[in-house]
Amino acid sequence: MPTVSINRELLFQALGREYTDEEFDELCFEFGLELDEITSEKEIIVREQGSDKADGASDVVLYKIDVPANRYDLLCLEGLVRGLQVFKERCEAPRYRKVTPASGEHLKLVITTETAKVRPHAVAAVLRNITFTKERLDSFIDLQEKLHQNICRKRSLVAIGIHDLDTICGPFTYTALPPAEIKFQPLNQTKEYTAAELMQLYKTDGHLRHYLYILENEPLYPVIYDSNGVVLSMPPIINGNHTKTSLKTRNIFIECTATDLTKAKIVLDILVTMFSEYCQESFTVEAAEVMYPNEKTYIYPELTYRKEILTADYINKKVGIRETPESLAKLLTRMYLKSQVVGDGSEIEVEIPPNRADIIHPCDIVEDAAIAYGYNNIQMTIPKTYTIANQFSLSKLTELLRQDLAAAGFTEALTFALCSKEDIADRLGKDISATKAVHIANPKTAEFQVARTTLLPGLLKTIAANRKMPLPLKLFEISDIVLKDPNTDVGARNHRHVCAIYYNKNPGFEVIHGLLDRVMQLLDVKPGRDHGYYIQAAEDVSFFPGRCAEVFAKGQSIGRLGVLHPDVITKFELTMPCSALEITVEPFL
């Protein structure tokens, strides 16, 4: 969930009233936001870098507000204030307009074929006669950053560039070139670099190094030039310094390059709907033309107003309320969805503005009606759904066995399903290739290399972590292990195992053997070769030679028991003899 930092004073100024922190928290809750923290720049620096670094830092109060991940329109002060004011019916939602320049000629961005493989899409728009203050410009830059981190998926799907239009001259060309052939002075640098040099330079940049991978293995890098060969940007890494915006900037050219066109359009719509407020003609955006290599042209931003027609009945039934169509239309209008009753009076026409890209289905409109109605005003009801409960047979058996294993004097452990290769192989004296282990592709540490193929290592590690406890230690676990299995759709399957372990000054084989007999007694399986269970000497490198037996029941091998090999005991950092039992319970379902 993205968090936005908003200056409290500016927020209240824009909202036209003061709130106590509690009141504002309450408003956020009702609207689906969360006032996560009340802090200041100074406090943040003190917390992150120590109080000696915080000298002179601002102690202006900041609200950190958590915004739902799909509400890109609330990621800056401008959008948040507009959303809340409309919600509180203190203003009407403005109408966003796109206009053609007086000359009739759109500013052009031409895409060349070379971009196709690396970053094939671009959209653009112009904000004319904008008035920036420091706060507004900061907010504009913050919004870009928030969009980059969220909908743009760290610039991989969409990258935004904003430029002082008065420093450049259209038409613009969006092309892709070998890194050595791109040379420009990047934003906030004093000299020119080739693209290849920039990739080196930014390797140590705390912020930009995270985006380098997007281009790293590309033969051609995307780049945007103006008609005089000035570099606007090298997306998705960096803009040129030449087109840098400042408080004096009056006209802004926005370009978004993308691998996902839908998201680029949404991002552009959000940027212009949020900041066209500061244009001379508020909420008006000058369109730009984008031409693809096939010469097809598109006018951006789209700024589409879409209409949905819903019946009041549909909304009422989904929420569980009984509001009139008029009342529902009013509720939706408060949610920035201008609505009116149409048709025979039972239908509501809802207009979805370009900043509400999150509304993709009538169910999204239903939710907004419910939010405006107030979730906590909805009458709670108990559905009449009549069903008979059933336990999952494997869980039922597990629950019953757990009780009786504890009654038999063993204590239940709860160990991780993920572990290292070493745990299930080397430390048990086995080769990892001999296990049917499922391997994880992206473990952050060795603890998560594989899914366990046996419960034994977890129990041994539990004992190792509890060596100070009085002996004997008697532990058990009934849980799932995972083995590869080509007969399932995912190629792997869980198996429910029982594992128990006895750790003492003597090996206690008879204790573990007795536990097996008790488990079989509980499962109503009698000793015997024909229809019962029996154990038979077996070879297993994890066990002390001559002290291991295989357990057979229901005509199949179900597991092993025995005295653990001293090497295994040592590798798990233990010092006492130890016997163990591990069997599957699935044949007993």
Partner: protein, 498 residues
């Protein structure tokens, strides 16, 4: 020394003659036994009831130290030095080698019993300075040992205390007087009932030693269930009480298709990132998808349909095939709802599960890479948001949580969505206790469920309520091999509503 077992009786006989009472210390002296034995006898007589009365007193008294006793036996160090010096004198270096040499030399010098000739031939030499001496230190200690404390004044006593020959000790004594049931013949107390006593009936005539009810009993030897599993059992019970059927969640490995795509979670969603989800290297991909359903899922993502705009992106089967460790049990709910849709005639269902899920997240005191998700799902015609809130209210009431409120939220596969908050009396604030919503039509309709059917669902973690219930701050002490077994042994039964 007197026989200890008859000590109580000896004491009683003496008490019979002593009208004013007895001092335990004096009794010990008179009987020639250690005072502690007399104290033991007093206590055992006290336990009989009113035979005697004993009032504890404390008194200071002087006692010889080990060194003091040695002085009584062998003389003071200075006297021993004087004796050791023959008439013709002794080399100082030789004298210092004697056990009493160092201490005795300086004392004998200050007593002027000996003199030192520094210029003697062969080195400094000691000569007697007087013909004979009186070893008064030894004499005084001797008197004190025999109980004659008046033999010395306090100054002298303190002087010897400094020399570590005397020590002042606090002694707890008893002033013993006859009790209301005083008798000189006490029967021996029995420690406990025996089968013989029951058989012979002799228990009727015996006195039994009183139990100390302040002491703790002996904890029985037993096995214990893990606290997290105890809480799981209770949650299971609650769902079963509410008529929910348990889902088969014994499949940790899931395909991205069932974990994400079938839930209308777009392929570029951050949850599908390498940083959040464990992907499998082997087996890397899943097979055998229901292809007609997969085609409908692809369409609703990339083009929309069922009233939806869709996400309008290039949906790739390659992404859907990727195997992962499931990030939520909702993947199983999705499989179950798909199966439900395949049965032809829709019947309402209530499902639940409590099982492990996996996240490739940064670990801290409250987050692990695997945890247990609790999930409830109800599918029926015409379920409303009010129904969801009603069911949640019932569910949380069974957990002992009655003060709930709901906050609008966002989940990719539910709309409307609501976070559930409960008022925490300890923290004096609202805390999130779960997440919930109504599954999106884009998820349900491609499965083939009837359009009028709504599916409400909610989820929470098992670890959080368990940590709160058992007062555990670090999740590693609860889950995994670093568990504190003492905590497991000591944890009480789990009743969530009390």
């Amino acid at each position: 020394m007197a026989d200890c077992s008859v000590l109580p009786e000896s004491l009683l006989r003496r008490l019979e003659k002593a009208d004013d009472g007895l001092n335990s210390l004096e009794v010990a002296g008179a009987l020639g036994v250690d005072h502690q034995l007399v104290v033991g006898a007093v206590k055992s007589l006290q336990s009989l009831g009113e035979v005697i009365q004993a009032e504890q007193r404390s008194s200071k008294h002087w006692e010889l130290t080990e060194e003091g006793k040695e002085v009584v036996d062998n003389g003071s160090h200075e006297a021993r030095v004087f004796t050791a010096v023959p008439l013709e004198g002794l080399l100082q270096s030789e004298l210092m080698k004697l056990p009493s040499g160092k201490v005795g030399f300086s004392k004998a010098m200050s007593n002027k019993w000996i003199r030192l000739d520094k210029n003697a031939e062969g080195g400094p030499r000691i000569y007697r300075a007087v013909d004979s001496i009186t070893d008064s230190v030894r004499e005084k200690l001797h008197l004190l040992r025999d109980g004659k404390e008046d033999a010395m004044d306090d100054k002298e006593k303190n002087e010897l205390k400094k020399r570590k020959l005397l020590a002042e000790v606090n002694i707890k004594t008893y002033w013993i007087t006859r009790g209301s049931a005083f008798t000189t013949s006490v029967t021996k107390q029995e420690t406990d009932l025996t089968p013989e006593m029951i058989a012979s009936g002799s228990w009727r005539d015996k006195n039994f030693k009183a139990y100390n009810f302040d002491a703790l009993g002996v904890i029985p030897e037993c096995g214990h269930l893990h606290p997290l599993m105890k809480v799981r059992t209770q949650f299971r019970q609650i769902f079963l009480e509410m008529g929910f059927t348990e889902m088969p969640t014994n499949n940790f490995i899931e395909s991205s298709f069932w974990n994400f795509d079938s839930l209308f979670q777009p392929q570029q969603h951050p949850a599908r990132d390498q940083h959040d989800t464990f992907f499998l290297e082997d087996p890397a991909e899943a097979t055998n998808f229901p292809m007609d359903y997969l085609a409908r899922v692809k369409k609703v993502h990339s083009e929309g349909g069922y009233g939806s705009q869709g996400y309008k992106y290039d949906w790739k089967i390659k992404e859907a095939k990727k195997n992962i460790l499931r990030t939520h049990t909702t993947a199983v709910s999705s499989r179950m709802l798909y199966q439900l849709a395949q049965q032809g005639n829709f019947t309402p269902v209530k499902y639940f599960s409590i099982d492990r899920v996996f996240r490739n997240e940064t670990l801290d005191a409250t987050h692990l890479a695997e945890f247990h998700q609790i999930e409830g799902v109800v599918a029926d015609y015409g379920l409303t948001l009010g129904d969801l809130m009603g069911v949640l209210h019932q569910f949380f009431t069974k957990l002992g949580i009655t003060k709930l409120r709901f906050k609008p939220a966002y989940n990719p596969y539910t709309e409307p969505s609501m976070e559930v908050f409960s008022y925490h009396e300890g923290l004096k604030k609202w805390v999130e206790v779960g997440n919930s919503g109504i599954f999106r039509p884009e998820m349900l309709l491609p499965m083939g469920l009837p359009e009028e059917v709504s599916v409400i669902a909610w989820g929470l973690s098992l670890e959080r309520p368990t940590m709160i219930k058992y007062g555990i701050n670090n999740i590693r002490e609860l889950v995994g091999h670093k568990v504190n077994l003492q905590m497991v042994y000591d944890s009480p039964i789990c009743r969530l509503d009390s």
